[in-house]
Amino acid sequence: MTHGIRTVFLKELIDTLRDRKTLIFMLLVPTLLTPGLIFGIGSIAINILKQNALSPVVIAADERTQQLYRQMVFDEFLRSDVGKILKYTRSPLVAYFVGPGALNDMMKTVPPMALRDPVEFEKWTRAMTANAKETLVGDVQLGGAYDTISEFHANQSPANQDMMNRMGVALFDFYALTVRGLGLVDFVDPSRISTDAKYAVKDLPFALSQQADGAKIYGAIQSREIQGFMIINNDLSSLAERKDQTAEVIFYYDSTIALSNEANSRVHGVVDRASMGIVKERVQNQKLTPNFLTAVEMRKGTNLASRSQITMEALGGLLPYLFLTFAFLGAIYPAIDLGAGEKERNTLETLLLSPVTRTEIALGKFALIFSSSLVAALLGVLSMSLSFVYLVPKSVADQLEFHVDLMTGISVAMLAIPPAAAFAGLFLAVSIFARSFKEAQNYLSPMGLALILPAMAGMIPGLEMGWIEAAIPLVNVSMLSKEFLKGNIHWGYYAMTFGSCFAFAAVCLSYCIFQFRREEVLFRS
């Protein structure tokens, strides 16, 4: 570095480090954004899902429909292998599975009455739901993340694997059927709906316009008084014997209202399970084995990708997207400040009249913007890595698995260098061309949008890395980072990526130096 470049660089470094706006974009945003995204948005989304999954829904149904529905759930509960649930539940493993013995304790409380009478069964379900729904929703329904799944995985014997699979299904059946199907469903008689009917028949969705109380029911769903309207016209009992008949459950709901949608999925889940149980019984009645229903089955456990590869296929594209975004953010503000900012502050002319060459001035400024961009990108990556290690809830983290060795980590981190150089060169050229801060912002902001596509290349499913992809600047960085994280190390592509990105950066930098030498650019007014 010549004396001139170093002098310009050091001055810009001091100037930039004293600039709060740049520091925010260079240091604060990349450092805090990732944890913010992971923690904030992630937990908000999970909370909303959890909240919906835990909220009771109110379904309008006449007395007969209510009875038929309860009976259907009860029959299915008796039909389902409760013994299996109870058996596994008593094992210490299951107690671990669902947290501190929640299901174990729960099942001990099943009163004998509840196994005979649907109404008693519902009462018990509701009492149990109030205590256990938090554990169940958290551990079973939302992705089956159990407290000790990692410990369980440490011993992946076929017996353990099989037990876990069956346990997961059994718990899910039990949960879907009883808790979501009964414990979290309140019924109301349509005649007791308090919402005033204000919809004319012609305004009603066609399906409800056919119903006598259609306007009232529609209004009640819209006003959130109820979440759906159920009609069961057919007798659901002894369907196993009446083997040629299909009963029908009608459920009106509004898919654009989250809780109404949730109500639909609860009812749907119950009906599907019940139907499957009845079909199994029909098959047995015909003296057929359960294999009658499954002619050909796909064997499980044939996926050759490692868990690490699966995780990185899903998440590996996120890392380059973030570090390209942070490299962009880290470059844009200093570029505007060091180029257009000099013009706006009327300091450019005095700088140009010092004995250092314009190339040296351009290179000194470029070096600072490049450093800022690189620091922002690396901070972003570091912050993301630490967030994954320390901030992601253990239950979610246990499902993710990735091994990134030091060499791969460094190789991927080094991929931030060429984009940072390209951004620095290009942005400084644009910025010095602009007459003012605002004009530079107007030119550079749309470039952020233009960056999104190449940065997201790693997240586009089906896009495979090849020599052509490795030759496209930025796209190659995004795709290659993901491949490296997945463990597919290909140094040829790596060299190509560096080569093409540096060529692009060199063109940007040459253009930048060219702009610094043009009188009409420097003295544009």
Binding site: I14, S354, P355
Partner: protein, 245 residues
């Protein structure tokens, strides 16, 4: 010594075609003398000064500063001149000391040399009190002092001042006026542009009147008065009002 000969600068304008900002300008400014380039706004004063200070390259003709050619030896010319304009800005987040150090370093000065030069200038321009305060927090007068100090950090032989008092109040202007007089006393070559008649009268030994890119008169003030009468303003309007010869 600043000499320009047949200096011409043309710009290409998309709508108006080729424009001559400066055309065939010739004059010389000697050490120990203040040469004033007087002309209305848009006359070509700033363009002429920018060519001499090497910011722009001439289309035709040549300029030399202390014997160095402005187009061919720009680095040497820049070492020899100090440039100051009223609207010259400062880096707000740097202190005057850092500003002076930055420019001194750009001019190739060593640490020790710079430290003593900064102390010397701080004393000379009474800047000691605010030498380590960010420039953003300084008053206009203080900023102007910093700017003057910046322009002479490398002890240039020649000073080029582009409308140095425009927009400044009386008190701040006084710093400039005193500075110009000191430069003359120190036997420096001073070239300044202005459109203010009284400033010419107060400061300049010789004057060049420029209008529409061309010099209309070059000579001492006495010669000017002898040729055009003692009312400078009237004479100036007569000159710039007439057609280009």
């Amino acid at each position: 010594m600043i000499e320009v000969e047949n200096l011409t600068k043309s710009f290409r304008d998309r709508r108006k075609g080729i424009l001559h900002a400066v055309k065939g300008v010739t004059f010389a400014s000697k050490p120990g003398e203040v040469f004033g380039l007087l002309g209305p706004n848009g006359a070509g004063k700033t363009t002429a000064l920018r060519i001499i200070s090497t910011a722009l390259k001439p289309t035709e003709g040549r300029g030399t500063v202390m014997g160095f050619d402005c187009a061919r030896e720009p680095e040497k010319v820049r070492q020899s001149i100090g440039f100051l304009a009223a609207n010259t800005g400062l880096y707000g987040r740097l202190t005057p000391r850092e500003t002076l150090r930055y420019f001194g370093s750009l001019f190739g000065m060593g640490h020790r040399q710079l430290d003593s030069r900064i102390e010397e200038l701080a004393f000379a321009f009474a800047m000691t009190d605010f030498l380590d305060r960010p420039c953003d927090k300084l008053s206009t007068g203080m900023k102007q002092k910093v700017n003057i100090a910046r322009s002479v950090i490398h002890s240039p032989e020649a000073m080029i001042l582009d409308e140095p008092t425009t927009g400044l109040d009386v008190l701040t202007s006084r710093h400039i006026v005193e500075f110009v007089r000191k430069c003359r006393n120190d036997q420096k070559t001073v070239l300044l542009s202005t459109h203010i008649m009284s400033e010419v009268k107060r400061l300049c030994d010789r004057v060049g009147i420029i209008h529409q890119g061309q010099l209309r008169f070059v000579g001492t003030l006495t010669e000017f008065e002898a040729a055009h009468g003692s009312d400078l303003e009237e004479a100036f309007i007569n000159i710039v009002g007439g057609p280009v010869p």
